[in-house]
Subunit: 225 residues, 2 copies
């Protein structure tokens, strides 16, 4: 019997790889992108492209306006995107982002009667975000079991994090093996509407280094400077 | 030193009482209402009224369109609001609602540097929702500790549920003692835009019975039939 999975797509490289991984496991994948007022709206377009190119069963976009609470360089125009890797938790951290993303995926999974949620968190090249660690995922799994009708009835949702212990280079190698076309993805924190990457932000640096380390040609379209 | 608290307001009786309770404890309260596409929009107006009448420091509304995923009579026009109390989890259950509300409150608390989140969950007259039980709240507290910058730095947010073990009548008695004007609140699942209650849905029935059991005059404005 085919099982259903909800896969959170950001439009970036990691979540595209998660989708390819869960699809390869035989799950019928339903993708979900969250429009949280991010500056880099090119990612939402990329998410739709990724969903289509990897043959997902459906794609939904849920809008939630995190600009109402602010607090992150990704949603607050008053904060600049840093171009240097900082120590500690960076200003691009969006308060409670993964908690919120997983909550929305949990609601979607419950309506679809899906038993899996895929998310591209990564504890290796994780940029210092607290909500990318294995212990966070475990705590969310426990919560999901108690929070939902399906969980109460003995059918809890499992949170799948196939990338959690991989380096960026390993993620790229796995994705290439699974047929992901990374040209469809956008990782840059300040991509243009056309999906051109700045090449300078944390996210661009990690991505660039990943392709280099993986020995794979980088298909990213960078802004010409 | 005054501590900050984020209080989730639905516009209903319970969350108004939570706000009065946390304010009476001396917290500087910042209220948060979530516009999740609920049919009963009168509740959002009520939330603002409650925030003002109980002297909250600020009031925010975050919009998240749960109609994109459907699955509840409260957000899906194709499902009828029941007028009889059913066994089990009712169709008015909104998938992962409290998980989502608490996630948004957690993000807001993190930005404000608030140490408390108040939510009006109740395990006594709880209508059969899985995400109103003490074990759910405990699991969310654990998650909050791991999910946020403040939690990682040893300052986790505490989830305050002052109503969790009270009957509706006891909630009303506490609120009256704290000066809550329940005429500002709306509980009905299908209230009119003017805030008139149907008197028939689960929520109206619980509320009516609460005032009766508490021996307090019911200030609810019902639709005249």
């Amino acid at each position: 019997m085919t099982t259903k999975a909800v896969v959170l797509l950001s439009g970036g490289l990691d979540s595209a790889t998660v989708l390819a991984d869960l699809a390869a496991q035989g799950h019928a994948c339903h993708t979900l992108a969250v429009d949280y007022g991010q500056r880099h709206r090119a990612e939402l377009l990329a998410a739709e492209r990724v969903s289509r190119s990897l043959g997902a069963c459906s794609h939904k976009v849920i809008s939630v306006d995190l600009r109402a609470i602010g607090g992150s360089a990704l949603t607050d125009d008053a904060l600049a995107i840093p171009t240097e890797l900082d120590e500690g938790i960076p200003v691009t951290y969006v308060p409670a982002r993964n908690t919120l993303m997983l909550s929305l995926a949990l609601g979607h999974a419950e309506v679809l009667d899906a038993r899996y949620i895929g998310i591209g968190v990564n504890a290796v090249d994780y940029s210092g975000y607290p909500d990318c660690r294995p212990e966070f995922i475990e705590a969310f799994s426990r919560l999901a079991q108690l929070a939902t009708k399906a969980g109460v009835e003995g059918q809890p949702v499992a949170i799948e994090t196939p990338l959690i212990n991989l380096t960026k280079a390993e993620i790229i190698q796995r994705g290439i093996a699974l047929g992901v076309d990374y040209a469809t993805t956008v990782s840059c924190y300040q991509a243009t509407d056309e999906g051109l990457a700045c090449g300078k932000c944390d996210s661009c640096r990690l991505r660039k280094k990943g392709f280099l380390d993986a020995g794979v040609a980088d298909p990213t379209r960078y802004l010409t400077r």
